[in-house]
């Protein structure tokens, strides 16, 4: 597949700082791909997008757009469009003029401008609103105008900087689908920046996770969820968050406390590790007999139950997601019998060491 965008060892250091904002980013985006860059605020994801756009200079490394090196290309010659979180609409222009803005700046003929704007507005269902000013539109409509601007530009690559973050939750969910639809229909290559892991999971062909100015992992959403490379990635994806429990390894088992240990077949050096278990991957029974945990908060969400429980003896708190067969209330004694899957992380570096996927693993319950 032809590569639309390729980054080799891209690094950004600001003039006034010695710490790099981004270091050694390598990635390539395929033609027609929906590529999501995700990370918490301050991780450098917006900076990265702006380097691709040409709005911020690249300190070192190489950027290729459609096979040609583009480090010093001015933004307008990179043949890409950009959609911003704040929409970046010109408040004094109506919808039509906002969409036509870039086309006019590129000295296109009047007729072509009109054709393109009409088409773009049609694509986002805003034809009726062409004469309105942005302030007379709702948040979702404003975002559609911004999308129409990108569509009208006819650029095959579209950069999106948290385009849905200013919308309310319901609208955001709907726009996710619409956006994805539009991208497929137009065959756009999208590089999409967000801090929202749900957006990354639901929309992306591939996801790049940024944290601490470095790339943490680059893979398909499902692989990232299933095989996180480190504690950060494991924690970042999935709601409720993965449980991270510190454990001691000896005698072929990870001992979380006296009442809770996980046996493994592989051998590890004796010492301290971090165990990661997703909330929905615990095996739980509601029983007094042999119970090893006590529930604290329980909320029923219809199709499932979300709870926190305190492991008896030691007091570590775990988050649980249970299907509705299990009937529990607050302050119940329960018995955690094992985990369908768990991860072992190096307690110092956070790197994943071991991904135990066999479902038949059982916790050894040693509590009386």
């Amino acid at each position: 597949m032809p590569m639309a965008i390729e980054l080799q060892d891209i690094t950004k250091v600001y003039d006034d700082g010695d710490q790099p904002v981004l270091s050694h980013v390598n990635m390539s985006v395929n033609d027609g791909e929906f590529f999501v860059i995700v990370g918490p605020s301050g991780c450098g994801k917006s900076t990265l997008l702006r380097m691709i756009a040409g709005l911020i200079s690249i300190s070192s490394g190489k950027l290729f757009i459609n096979g040609t090196q583009a480090n010093d290309l001015p933004p307008k010659d990179r043949k890409l469009s950009m959609v911003f979180q704040s929409y970046a609409l010109f408040p004094f222009m109506n919808v039509y003029d906002n969409v036509a803005f870039g086309l006019k700046a590129r000295k296109m003929s009047e007729k072509e401008v009109k054709d393109r704007v009409d088409h773009a507005l049609d694509m986002v269902n805003l034809t009726k609103f062409a004469k309105r000013k942005p302030r007379a539109l709702s948040g979702g409509q404003r975002q559609r105008v911004a999308l129409a601007r990108a569509i009208a530009s006819d650029a095959k690559v579209c950069l999106m900087d948290e385009p849905l973050s200013n919308l309310d939750a319901q609208l955001r969910a709907r726009m996710r689908l619409e956006l994805r639809d539009l991208q497929k229909k137009l065959g756009l290559t999208v590089i999409y920046v967000t801090h929202d892991q749900v957006e990354a999971m639901t929309m992306a062909d591939r996801v790049m996770v940024l944290h601490d100015h470095k790339v943490q992992q680059l893979d398909t959403p499902i692989n990232i969820y299933k095989n996180p490379k480190n504690e950060f990635v494991a924690q970042f994806f999935g709601t409720p968050q993965i449980n991270l429990l510190s454990a001691n390894f000896s005698n072929r088992e990870f001992k979380i406390n006296n009442s809770f240990s996980l046996p493994v077949r592989r051998q590890f050096d004796d010492g301290q590790y971090t165990i990661g278990i997703r909330p929905n991957e615990f095996n739980v029974e509601v029983t007094q007999k042999g119970s090893n945990a006590r529930t604290r908060e329980v909320s029923y969400l219809g199709d499932k139950t979300v709870a926190t429980a305190e492991i008896l003896d030691g007091g570590q708190i775990v988050r649980l997601v249970l299907n509705n067969q299990v009937d529990i209330a607050e302050d119940n004694l329960i018995k955690i019998t094992g985990a369908k899957q768990f991860y072992v992380f190096d307690s110092k570096t956070g790197e994943v060491l071991f991904n135990e996927r066999e479902a038949n693993l059982n916790a050894t319950i040693t509590a009386e």
Binding site: R50, A53, G54, L55, P74, P75, K76, D77, L80, S81, M82, F84, Q85, S86, Y87, A88, F90, P91, F92, M93, F101, G102, A105, R106, R149, S153
Partner: protein
């Protein structure tokens, strides 16, 4: 002294009304303090001068003083001069202040901070203390007694630059980024985006610069000598100090002619801004 809450327990209707009357009374007294010089001026502008000089505040009302002012004095010419001077000063200030403000917000260059402080420093230097060398400068430039002498030195101000800079800094940076992606250069971004975006600040600065130019007194007094260029402030000074000294009716009419346009603009402007 915020609004009085009428819900305050069992106050009788009578005492409430009394309170209200008291409030209006206070407002009316204050209003009289503020507007009585106007009222007096306007009123006497309709009285015959003969009556005024006798100390009478009554007489036959007429527009005679206005007719006399317009026909026997260059008051309309003064108004025209002031209009020309203030308009050109305003346009020049809007242009140059917005340009320098743009530079301070959107351009990167060496000594940017230093130059900005240099601009700010000029706000500490009163023009009144610089009239001597400035007079020599415009004399050497051959600008004396001409419109230009009242426009050129005031074509830019640090205050205007500072004010527009604040306004430009409010612009979301994404607007600049979106324009960069479309390939707008600085000049295009300046007049296609920045100026329309900061429209309200531009209007405010425009009104301010127009009024300051209109109210100039010392400088035109030093630099204009003929009725062809004399602005209205010094025109009134001229009328008041010269042959017409005792023709109070006509002087008041001239003052009224001068003040009415600005008052009307002020009232309309207030209505517009509040709405």
């Amino acid at each position: 002294m915020q609004m009085t809450n009428d819900r305050v327990a069992p106050v009788s209707a009578g005492s409430r009304r009394l309170k209200k009357v008291g409030k209006y009374l206070l407002l009316i007294i204050l209003m009289f303090i503020v507007v009585s010089p106007f009222l007096l001026g306007f009123w006497t502008s309709f009285l015959p001068t003969a009556a005024i000089s006798k100390g009478a505040l009554w007489g036959k009302l007429s527009f005679d003083n206005y007719v006399a002012a317009v026909t026997t004095t260059p008051i309309l010419r003064y108004l025209f001069n002031s209009l020309v001077i203030s308009l050109f000063t305003m346009i020049a200030q809007l242009l140059f202040c917005s340009m320098s403000a743009y530079a301070f917000v959107f351009l990167r260059f060496k000594y940017r901070k230093f130059l900005f402080y240099v601009f700010l420093a000029t706000m500490m230097l009163p023009f009144e203390a610089e009239v001597i060398p400035n007079f020599m400068t415009v004399r050497d430039m051959g600008l004396l007694d001409h419109f230009a002498v009242m426009i050129v030195p005031f074509m830019t101000t640090a205050f205007g630059t500072f004010m527009l800079r604040q306004s430009f800094m409010q612009m979301p940076k994404e607007l600049k980024e979106a324009s960069d992606i479309e390939g707008l250069n600085h000049w295009q971004f300046y007049y296609k985006v920045t100026l329309p975006y900061a429209k309200i600040s531009m209007v405010t600065l425009g009104a301010y610069s127009f009024l300051s130019s209109w109210n100039q007194y010392l400088w035109p007094m030093l630099t204009t000598f003929s009725d062809n260029f004399r602005p209205v402030q010094d025109g009134l000074r001229q009328l008041q100090s010269q042959e017409t000294f005792n023709n109070w009716g006509m002087i008041q009419a001239s003052a009224a002619i001068v003040v009415l346009p600005t008052l009307i603009v002020l009232f309309i402007g207030q209505h517009y801004f509040k709405a």
